[in-house]
Amino acid sequence: MTQDYASQIHRCFRCGYCKFPTDYSSLNCPSFRRFRFDSYSTGGRLWLIYAWLRNEIDWSEHLAEILYACTTCKNCVEQCPMKFSTDIVDWIVGARSDMVEKGRIPPQVARFFEAVHGYGNPLKLLRSDRAAWADGTKKYEPGDEYLFYVGCLGSYDENGQKMARSLADVLSAAGVSFGILGNEEECCGNEVYMLGEMGLFQTLAEKNNQQFKELSVTNIVTLSPHAYNVMKNNYHQFGADFAEYHYTVYHYTQLLYGLIKENKIRLSNNKAKVTYQDPCFLGRYNQIYDEPRQILQSIPGIELVEMERNRENSFCCGGGSGNFVMDLLAGGKDSPSRARVREAHDTGAEVLAVACPSCLTMFTDAIKAEDLDDKLVVKGISQIVKESLSSK
């Protein structure tokens, strides 16, 4: 990993395009928006990594915090005018990986890895409680059409569980053949990958692939865009033992929109003004922008209004790269989640719709901190669809 980025990282000119959305209407790099020192921008980070590689600066906890405050939201990749733009996140992950190998990481990151390694989730909750939310949802069996991969937040986080429960109910109502892994489900490893712990990531990817293979899984639907991303784009790196085995991964919004189109989900009136947050790992990472909006627009009574920054210019909730647990960007009104809920509120929407349990938990806290409890509510799209299910 080191060679991959070390020979290229000097190419950043620190021009600063990475700080903006396309129309320059705001600052769109979450950590730069939060801390404002140029060292916390993508250019700052790349220059500091280069300095560290050349021994011009020593490792410090502050350096590591700067590196790990990046949410890997990919706004920089979207905006950087240089030909190397698509490599930027890989460079950051590469530098993190080097820090991991040297054992030089912030304590919050170390605790994250310990929890995933020991408990199979970053929240350090018991494996035996992973399916506590499921309430009778059946386990996956060979022959089921879909494996519903719930993920750590969907399994353990109070808000994530509501999203998961709603999705399971909607899928059941639509007559979809699916099952879950229950307490046998393992962390997807997206955050572990982004945080640079490649050994642990490989273990997780291989465990998951092995389990999927043993169960003859052919289609996976994920609650979280993070899981969708890593299974779709990164698991194949560890596929030597799975050369003849393939599965297709869907994010649940793709599946739900398909079901709506096929009239397998019928929706009744649900009057609300709604705005939608594009999750980074669904949008910028995988260009899925339309299906979540099409679901919302399929619901009679819902008026969809856009925030100023949307689609490829969306502003990250601040939860990426494990920050939904570590929250290195927390503190004050400049934290990304608080800035974003203010932007959502400014649209006049009463509902902030999300397609990611990480966004759900980040925004739920931010709404409280901004004292917007009685003005704005954050809901998963699966929850909105469940509320809108027609009884006819």
Binding site: S7, H10, R11, C12, F13, R14, C15, G16, Y17, K19, F20, D23, Y24, S25, S26, F35, R36, F37, D38, S39, G44, W47, L48, A51, E56, I57, D58, S60, H62, L63, I66, P81, M82, K83, F84, G331, G332
Partner: protein, 459 residues
Amino acid sequence: MSDIYATLQEIVGKDYVSNQAEERYFYGRDPGLMPPHEPDYVVMPRTTEEVQEIIRLANKEKVAVVPKGAGLSLTGLVIPQIGGIVMDMKRMEGIEVNEAGRYVIVEGGVTHAALKSHLQKNYPHLRHSIPDSPPIATIVANAVIHGQGRLTQQRGFNSDMVSGLEVVLPTGEVCRIGSCAVSSYWFSKGPPMPDLSGLFLGWFGTTGVITRLGMKLYPCKKMRDVMLYITDRAELIPDIIRKLSHTEMMEDIVVSCAPLPLRFKGVFNMLVYITGDSEEELEFKRKMAWDALREYFESRDGGFMGVSPYMKPSLLAMPSKDTTRFADVSKGGGFEYSGPIAPIEKYPQYVKKLEELASKYNLFYSSAARVIDGGHSMMFSFSYTFNRADPDTMNRAKTALDEAAEFALDEGGVIWKPNLNEQRMVMERMDPNTLKLLGKIKQLLDPNGIMNPGNWEAK
């Protein structure tokens, strides 16, 4: 913890001061070729009062202060030469538009990006002169270095468009410059009174910290277009510029040359921008441009070339990402240019020198020359790339730029945003009494010599 650090924390809050190695490293250098020197502190004030307190502290402690925008001059103008405090202005981001008066008052950290977006959203019929530097460049810093932008052909340097200043003097007093000194309106930076803005514009922060700046706004026409005129005869460029600027209808005129792509080698590309409120207006201006250059079309010395739909958005973009992309054409992440403001008649000699130096030092080059103020002068860039990971290319580029600067001065130009070495070259050639005046003004305004030491030091 030092007293200075603790006091800075008291002034701006602990989140907005750093003396850590990482911030000191980053703020101790810029993307150009000047040697780094680290500050002791980086501080981000939010208000004019906080700026005052920092300046008073610096005077008391005899510590240097370097006000900083985005740090994109490429010539090291905000590298703190003796350490001290780098004052990053980006948290001062207020924007107040006077629509009827066609001007805006911006705080010291407002970026061109923020103003462009603000105007597009709220006052789409108004615009400002957007430079080719990246969007994070600030309005104030760009004016302080006499930057240029899309309206420079019509309106002069961006500093010519300033309509008032609020400055914290090096001794801590707040001072208003221009009509805003006697009125609540910011329509003029001086006239009909003595124009004191010259005490601050072009001084690179050595005479005070500009905390607010009035900038004139201009009509934003509904349509823009770009025409591409090409010729392979450098000696014709001055006359072509004279003929085009005579029409008084061009928004902007930029002449560029580069050895790659090969189809452009030896060819001078003149980008001629026009604006209009209707297609008829645009068509009329296109016709005027054609008519102005008919002579050269008929002699087959040049002609307008179609601009493909693929190229057009990039050419019309403000700011232009292509300027930034030049930094990585050699995959080295670096470029710098010496940019003399020069008589347009010198274009052929400057181009010859640009190519000579590129060949002599084996460097990739390009040049963009922008017409200033209706054709009274041009900014000609001697631009060379370097590889940030290869000290040899950096040394060669530095030497080439030094030679380019000497040449440009010998040929009647004056260096734009000169680095320390170029400032020395300029001052060596300066009229001795002018140089003394420079020194007297600096001494009078900054008796303790705390403001951006090293720059414009008339010894």
